[in-house]
């Protein structure tokens, strides 16, 4: 697990959002967090711990201490850590927010873990659990291995074997051993329980047999039981024999007894039967009476038919009476109805009259309706026509207006066309101006410029030649002078003498001059004649040159004058004043400005020309267009006229119709009202007609009804009469019957009451007779059977004997069956015991085995080392080997870790540490080291463990190590050594972060986080 980025806000001393990027520090492999006391160094570790596990790094710092004192309540405390595990990046963040009073909001504790595949976990507990899963160590283990907190570095060192076991188990995956141990223990326990159960069972079985002296199971028990069984079996045999004898005896006696008993019974029966018969005979009278009653009843029964008839007739008569009464009632009702109807019907005739009057009225009304229809139609027509008229007139006026406009436009265009010739003329003027004036002028100006140039050139030439002339002249003068001089000299040789004496002011004999600027010097060098000649020739040549040049000059001058004159003439032509031709710049400017003027004039004119041309073209178009327009306008006129005409017609028709309408209105001023009245009348008529129809109908109904009712009345009367007759008949018959049989009505009625019991009475009588007969028979039989013996026999003695015997039999039988049962029981019991004993032996053996194994594996042996711990011890040895490498360096070869072999006390050993001190050659307890030495030992152990884990593949990735202080306990030399060790540990994958305020470390380690305490919390600076 390598931290990559840590963000803290309102966390302990970090008020503002502080971000630490660990990546460059991780690259360095070893970095220092330094600063003054209380600046906030350990807080960084706290933050990492908190982000991962929700807890502080030191166990004495509680979670709530983390809230920054400076934070306003609205700022939540947030810690976010991005870390790398297994090459992938994870991000975990936790957050606590607070209420105004400073209390933590419990609901608002957020925690989020985002994994590289996007899976998210939230809620504090879940995140912590997931982190524990991912890192494969929980908070406590993390602190012992990865983050060595201030003051707690010795924990791993001094922790007992059990704690170490837990840590190493996770790291080295010896869970399977632990599992084995647990399983074995389970198995041993299982078998123990089994064995115990079986023993209990055996014991219970033995005890259940209730055998004297046998309480618990042991090896002899089986034999004992078998012996017992044998005994019992013998006993059983004897008893069975005795039983048999006894039973026989009892049988015999019982038979005798039974016989005698039977006889006694018969005697008793005889006596009983006799009595019975007597009783029956006593009842004879009663039954005699009963017979009589029976006869009477049957008689009454015969007569009863007549009575029935009578009743029937009565009923029928009554019914008829009722019907007759109903008919009377109906008649009454009908009479009432008739009365009502008569009243209504009285109006019958009036109604008829009214109806006919209305009908007449309505037929008149039809005519009126027609009128109305016409009126409506006409009004509609008028309206339509009017609308049409309006429409048309509107459009007409529009068209007219348009037409006017078109005409105006046409006239306007005609005017325009007239300007055509004017414009043509103007155009021609312009063209001529251009041609005649401007263009030639421009040409002249060009000529002028050319001329000016020519003039200039000529001038230059002239000057040039002039110069030459001057030069030539000068040359000539010089050379001729020289010649003269030479000549003079030649002559002057002679004059030299003369000259010698010549003084200034003295006239020369030759020329008489008083001044002698050039006294002839007597030079040794005198030109010869030839030389003189040559010189003369030169002079001549010079002169020639001079002449030539002079001629040329003159020529050039002429040219110049020509140029000048032509320029002047040009100027005149151009009407400008003669400028100074010598000033070329002014000339140029002038020419240029003139040219410019002309150019602009030309442009203007050309533009004017073009405009004019355009206009002319336009006018031509226009004229063509005008013709078309004229035609169109004429057509339009025609159309308009037509329209006007139509309009007038329409107007006329409208008036006609309107006239009609007015007429109607005049005739029928109240047309509408009348129509309405008609409608009402129609309704009234309808109603009256209906009423009439109804009346007629009703009359018919009433009449019919009366007829039927009368018929019915007659019927009913006759029926009634019939019924009466039959009734009388029936009554007569009945009384006759009574008389015939001599029966009074009362007697009859009484008898009839009992008619239902008739059959029962008959039966009773019959029964009685039977009984009597039966009883007599019985008595006879029994008497026969018994013969003489009519008295009971005494059986008491026999009974007693039998009873005694039976009792004995029961007792002994009981005992026997008891014995039998017992035998069975014991046999069964024995079998069970034997079966269980087999299993017991087997299980006992297993239990012993497992118990032994458990004993050994779980470390209850004297060495107190469990199997797992044995394995772990090997790993531990390896760790110690790695750790010893570091410790050797740190302690300069003095100390070495040794794993303790003997057990101390009951705590399982195997993972305890001792220190071998080479100086004294003795073993020392780890706790006996000084503070600094303990730190070195812890550091070595942590580094060794970390190295070991690194070299094991597929284990926990704990390639980061954080050490909080501890260096303060070391002296200068030790710090140096420790630094050497740590620096030499830097490898690709490992990162070691150290918190310390010790200055020496700052010199040795480049990568640093410097923490300073400001007024409002801490600030960080990262350098590397």
């Amino acid at each position: 697990m390598k931290p990559l980025m840590l963000t803290m806000q309102a966390f302990s001393t970090y008020l503002d959002k502080t971000v630490i990027d660990f990546r460059p520090l991780n690259e360095k492999g070893l970095y220092l967090i330094t600063g003054d006391t209380g600046a906030g160094k350990t807080t960084i570790f706290d933050a990492i711990c908190f982000a991962l596990y929700g807890e502080a790094s030191g166990s004495d710092r509680g979670k709530d201490v983390f809230r920054s004192q400076y934070a306003p309540y609205s700022t939540p405390t947030i810690v976010e850590l991005t870390f790398q595990l297994d090459g992938k990046d994870y991000q975990v963040s936790r957050r606590m927010s607070y209420t105004k009073t400073g209390k933590k909001r419990n609901n608002n504790d957020d925690a989020v873990l985002i994994e590289p595949d996007g899976r998210q976990t939230s809620k504090q507990k879940d995140v912590t659990n997931r982190i524990t899963e991912l890192l494969k160590v929980d908070y406590n283990q993390f602190k012992q291995i990865v983050m060595i907190a201030q003051g707690e570095f010795a924990r791993l060192l001094t922790s007992p074997s059990k704690e170490k076991e837990t840590i190493f188990r996770q790291i080295f995956h010896t869970e399977s051993f632990k599992l084995l141990e647990m399983n074995l223990h389970e198995r041993a326990a299982h078998f123990k329980t089994l064995v115990d159960n079986e023993k209990t069972q055996l014991d219970t079985s033995v005890r259940d047999l209730h055998i004297e002296g046998l309480k618990n199971y042991d090896d002899q028990v089986t034999e004992q039981i078998e012996n017992l069984i044998k005994e019992k079996e013998a006993l059983y045999k004897e008893e069975t024999k005795a039983k048999k004898e006894r039973d026989e005896k009892i049988d015999t006696l019982t038979n005798e007894y039974n016989q005698k008993q039977a006889i006694n019974e018969t005697v008793q029966r005889f006596h009983h039967a006799q009595k019975n018969k007597e009783d029956l005979l006593a009842q004879a009278d009663h039954y005699q009476e009963l017979e009589q009653t029976i006869d009477q009843i049957s008689l009454a029964k015969d007569i009863s038919t007549y009575e029935k008839d009578v009743l029937k007739a009565k009923k029928s008569y009554k019914q008829k009476q009722t019907e007759r009464t109903l008919v009377d009632e109906d008649q009454k009702r009908l009479d009432q109805k008739k009365q009502d109807f008569e009243q209504d019907y009285a109006h019958h005739d009036t109604l008829k009259e009214e109806i006919s009057a209305l009908q007449i009225k309505l037929s008149n009304g039809d005519r009126l309706k027609k009128v109305k229809a016409d009126y409506d139609q006409t009004v509609k027509d008028v309206h339509e026509k009017q609308t049409q008229f309006d429409r048309l007139s509107k459009s007409l006026s529009k068209d007219n207006t348009r037409h006017e406009e078109a005409l105006a436009l046409y006239a306007h265009h005609e005017e325009e066309l007239e300007t055509y010739s004017q414009k043509e003329f103007a155009l021609r003027q312009i063209e001529s101006e251009l041609k005649d004036t401007i263009l030639p002028r421009m040409e002249s100006i060009n000529e002028l410029s050319v001329g000016a140039g020519k003039y200039r050139d000529a001038q230059e030439d002239y000057y040039h030649v002039h110069d030459q002339e001057v030069k030539a002249t000068k040359a000539f003068t010089e050379i001729s002078e020289r010649a003269d001089n030479e000549r003079k000299r030649t002559h002057g040789e002679m004059a030299g003498i003369l000259a010698k004496d010549l003084k200034e002011g003295t006239p020369c004999p030759v020329c008489g001059s008083i001044h002698h600027p050039k006294l002839a010097v007597m030079s040794g060098h005198v030109l010869s004649f030839k030389e003189l000649e040559k010189l003369e020739k030169q002079v001549e040549a010079a002169r020639q040159t001079m002449m030539e040049v002079s001629r040329e000059a003159t020529q050039k001058q002429n040219v110049l004058y020509d140029a000048k004159s032509s320029l002047s003439s040009l100027c005149k032509t151009l009407q400008i004043k003669e400028a100074d031709f010598n000033d070329m710049d002014a000339m140029k400017t002038l020419i240029a400005s003139m040219m410019f003027e002309e150019e602009s004039k030309k442009k203007e004119i050309i533009k004017k020309k073009e405009d004019l041309q355009a206009e002319l073209a336009h006018l031509e178009d226009l004229s063509a267009h005008q013709k078309e327009e004229k035609e169109r306008l004429d057509k339009q006129e025609e159309k308009l006229k037509e329209l006007d005409h139509t309009l007038n017609e329409l107007h006329v028709s409208i008036s006609t119709i309107q006239y009609q309408v007015d007429k109607i209105v005049k005739e029928h001023p109240y047309l509408d009202r009348e129509i309405k009245q008609l409608e009402e009348d129609a309704i009234t008529l309808n109603k009256k007609e209906q009423k009439l129809a109804r009346l007629e109908q009703e009359k018919e109904t009433v009449t019919k009804k009366q007829e039927s009712l009368t018929t019915l009345k007659n019927e009913k009367d006759s029926q009634l009469q019939e019924a009466k007759v039959s009734l009388e008949k029936a009554e007569d018959a009945f009384s006759k019957a009574l008389q015939d049989h001599n029966l009074s009505l009362t007697a009859y009625q009484e008898a009839i009451h009992q008619v239902n019991a008739l059959s029962q009475y008959r039966k009773n009588v019959e029964h009685y007779h039977q009984e009597v007969a039966g009883a007599s028979r019985v008595v006879e039989n029994l008497a026969e059977q018994l013969g003489d013996q009519h008295e009971l026999i005494d059986l008491s003695a026999l009974k007693e004997t039998l009873g005694e015997l039976k009792v004995e039999k029961n007792q002994r039988d009981d005992a026997l069956s008891h014995l039998h049962y017992r035998l069975k029981e014991v046999r069964k019991g024995l079998k069970e015991i034997q079966t269980i004993a087999v299993a017991y032996k087997k299980d006992m053996k297993e239990q012993v085995t497992y118990h032994n194994l458990d004993f050994v594996i779980s470390g209850k042996t004297t060495s107190k080392m469990s199997f797992e711990r044995y394995v772990l011890a090997a790993y531990f040895e390896m760790i110690l080997r790695y750790a010893n490498e570091e410790l050797k360096q740190l302690s300069e070869g003095r100390y070495e870790f040794v794993r303790r072999r003997e057990a101390k006390g009951n705590a399982g050993a195997g993972l305890d540490l001792d220190i071998l001190d080479y100086e004294t050659g003795a073993m020392r307890d780890v706790k006996s080291l000084s503070g600094g030495e303990k730190f070195k030992a812890s550091l070595s152990l942590a580094l060794g463990l970390s190295n070991m884990i690194q070299s094991m593949a597929g284990g926990i990735e704990l390639n980061a190590l954080f050490i909080d202080e501890g260096f303060g306990t070391l002296d200068h030399e030790s710090i140096e050594t420790a630094m050497d060790v740590l620096i030499s540990m830097k490898s690709e994958n490992k990162v070691i972060g150290i918190i310390s305020h010790v200055d020496t470390l700052k010199d040795r380690i480049d990568a640093m986080i410097t923490v300073t305490r400001g007024r409002n919390g801490s600030h960080l600076k990262v350098t590397y």
Binding site: G29, S176, L179, L180, N183, L184, R187, E846, T849, Y850, N852, L853, V856, I857, T861, S863, M865, F867, Y870, V871, A873, A874, Y875, E877, M878, E892, G893, R894, R899, R901, L916, Y918, E919, T920, G921, A922, H972, E973, E976, M979, D980, I983, S984, K986, D999, T1000, D1003, R1004, D1006, T1023
Partner: protein, 371 residues
Amino acid sequence: MKFIHIADLHLGKMLHGYSLIDIERELLKQITDYLREHEDIKAVVIAGDVYDRSIPSQEAVNLLNDFLVTLIMKLHRKVLIISGNHDGADRLNFGSEILKMEGLYIEGTLKEKINYVDIDDVRFYLFPFVKPSGVAALFPDLPHGNYNEAVASYLSMQDFHTSLKKVMVTHQYVGHSAQVSDSECLLAVGGGEIVDPDLFDEFDYVALGHLHAPQYIKRQTLRYSGSLTKFSFDEAHQKKSFVVVDTNDFSFELVPLTPSLDVRVLKGTLEELMNRKDEHPDDLIAAELSDEKIIPHAIDQLRTHYPHVLKITYPKLLGNEAVETKTLNEISQMEPGALFEAFYKDVMGTDHVDEEYVNIIRRMFEGGEEQ
């Protein structure tokens, strides 16, 4: 003229808890005595690591004070000092501007333009120890990824043109494969601290400090003077000396240093060592006992004969295998049954394990089946 080149005094250092200050005092006295006898030595060059730590002990400060007072006030020689990686540069630099007047030149801070001192016809360039970050602070645009680059960059910004002879005094770790001993400390890992000797080709002599064994790199005049004392037991075989350099031709002489207490390693069994007659039993000794087992309180016994035994090791006991526990590799390769056998034998102290037991264990490992 001549000058003395020393370095790595590490005043105040302890050797296994024994303070070397007295030996250092003695050796410094040897140097001052030598100077007294040789008047033609004009300067003493101390190439870094004067103190052992950035805040030195009082004794160390006093010792240096005495030494410098002797050199400057009594012997009137010039002293040139640069700070090394162990010195607290700023502290060492204290008062350096004032001290220049007296001929004591201390260079503790790296400046943009390297400082130098001219003595006679020699220019001494004083290059205090610097890390790449130090160079980066002055010339941030130049490469300073490792020590070599940083030093190269710094040197490239300097102008060494002069008609005088040139001596460079530096404390960087110059060299390819040099003799390194325990007492030198690692600055960075993986050779990142090594500086190429070719960077100093233009100097007539380079006075190096940092490594404690006297040696040269590439050429005789590119030289570590080595420390005055032996600082760890693996320096025990080295012959310590100081360098006297003649600037006329840059020849040099190594003058041996003879402290009264040497640092030695004794080998033998305890008995042998106790019975041996030793000429200098007071020396600082590391004893390598060749006994096969640890003898309790061996060190106390030895100290009766050799009062300054500082360290005991038992080389024969290295590789002290655990007898009863198997090694890790073996264990991870053993199958559970065999593992159990070994464990059982060990714990119960027997040679024989019931087959049945082993089978049960094997079975339970394989499946955890119910029996």
